[in-house]
Symmetry: C2
Subunit: 322 residues, 2 copies
């Protein structure tokens, strides 16, 4: 089985949404965004041991490799259009390739996102996806548009993926049912694509939560030159599995919710006057959102307890070289 | 030195050509092709040992990582606009990063191609670039447009990079001056970007020669459902260093010219009536081109000797999994 056989057998993708002028099989793919729209581009690289374990289900890995990229489109309010896949493989393992491409293309089909090109090579396992979406340029949800007085929201729940990781590494103990739930969140995250698009013209600023809430919120704050007050009770309420967290100490809790990593939720800001529109967007996208705090002029992030007093913050956001 | 320091120190790129609505620092970059143009997209992944040796000059590697991608844009007739870089690094080596980014961004500046985003992670050394260009959709040089009767041309010279590789591996012996010349071709290839654009509306079909002439020409032939007769004397004349080739046997010669790999030249077809326009394009792009054969209805590639008789063809194109 050679390089071109791998592409032909596992990565042919007949999907051709409007906007894909030419798909794979040439030196380049050709993409044309719809009139009045701009192309949103993001790239993510996944490496064995760093982003997944060697024994991960290849179908889940295929799903996740695209999901983390779609999450970046969601954070921009962009509609998925196409993606490229570059793949470095230690060997041609047909069972692995079958599972990987099945998970990858199932998620691609769900979002109408066409595989339009890529590269395959022999080497240590590495997956690099570049994803393309479209959004009216004036409605893109930039990190730099947060305003003082904006409410801060987060979608879904935080900390589940991190909890799954700690459980799989034996750091915390979880029952089989709970482990299965959080493991699903770690290995098959749901990118908030519908929510991102529903927030066009509603949210001021957005980012995806991939490295931890405080780290990714900090990107918005730095780009917008503002700060944030967060309410601990709102953040800690947002996890799906608070029942099992009683056995875990407070340091862990802070770390899970604030610096968890791999959440693939959206953190976004919107003016208080848009509160109802935010709720409508959440309903339309069938994605719960929680108001967790307020944008303020004073730089930095403060987490407030139920008395409104600042809490001490241990830990920090994930850094690939730390 | 953390992940964001690496990006800030080595991969900030102030270049903002028209078409780059938003560069790095957000969840996505935003690109808008010029009115009437479509976005050409290509991705290439470079892996240590497979595409370069660990002792390669990092500045040359930075150059080459972008050059191989620009070569794909050239083969489409596209004008470079922007690129993303995903980088997996075993460790943060500041000397290496300084050299790599210098070579990378120097070539990017030369072509007005803006670094608009990317990803960095710890892991085995791996470079993945996705490049974006623009071209009027109707003028893109597709592989599927070759016509029976077209002349076949190749730019520059073939086999130099392969010769350098063999010399560095001790398979052939070269003098220091010759080695330096061919090593430059291996490590710092020149993408034929100006030629590709000059061939818009002139050439019928084009591909870049990265895996070997016969393999990449075969992509055109298969996509266009045609065959090719090539003239050995024209191909073998096209190498820069024929003087040193006398010591090498015929099998080597065939392999170097026909299956060499890493040439990053363009192979293209044009009707005989466009011969003068092809010469003008070559002059305008300051890139020599050689007419090496003819497109014919009979499928497959035949290499003809100076009597017009078919020669036996050993070897085959490079396959990453072979």
């Amino acid at each position: 089985v050679g390089e071109f056989d791998v592409i032909r057998r596992y990565f042919q993708h007949p999907l051709r949404p409007a906007g894909v002028v030419l798909g794979n099989g040439d030196d380049c793919a050709l993409l044309t965004p719809a009139p009045g729209q701009t192309l949103a581009v993001s790239t993510d690289m996944l490496v064995e041991w760093r982003h997944f374990f060697p024994d991960v289900d290849p179908e889940a890995l295929g799903h996740k490799a695209l999901a983390v990229n779609l999450s970046d489109l969601a954070a921009m309010g962009a509609e998925p259009l196409a993606f490229t896949l570059a793949l470095s493989l230690p060997k041609v393992d047909e069972v692995w390739l079958e599972g990987f491409s099945t998970g990858l293309l199932a998620l691609a089909n769900l979002h109408g996102c066409a595989l339009v090109g890529g590269d395959t090579t022999a080497g240590p396992l590495n997956l690099c996806i570049t994803v393309f979406g479209q959004v009216p340029a004036t409605q893109a949800l930039r990190r730099s548009s947060a305003q003082v007085g904006d409410d801060i929201y987060v979608s879904g729940t935080l900390g589940d993926a991190r909890l799954a990781l700690e459980a799989l590494q034996g750091q915390v103990s979880l029952g089989a049912v709970d482990l299965a739930r959080v493991r699903q969140r770690l290995e098959r995250p749901t990118p908030r694509v519908a929510l991102g698009q529903a927030l066009r013209g509603v949210a001021h600023a957005a980012a995806d939560v991939s490295d931890g809430l405080t780290g990714d919120l900090a990107h918005i704050l730095n780009a917008s030159d503002v700060g944030a007050d967060l309410h601990w009770s709102k953040i800690s309420n947002s996890i799906a599995i608070s029942s099992v967290m009683k056995s875990v100490n407070d340091g862990f809790l802070f770390d899970f919710f604030l610096n968890g990593g791999d959440d693939y939720e959206l953190v976004f800001t919107a003016p208080p006057s848009a509160h109802w529109q935010v709720q409508q967007a959440a309903t339309q996208a069938q994605t719960p959102v929680t108001r967790i705090g307020t944008i303020c002029a004073k730089s930095g992030i403060r987490v407030l307890d139920h008395n409104g007093l600042p809490m001490a913050l241990p830990g920090r956001s994930f850094d690939h070289f730390a």
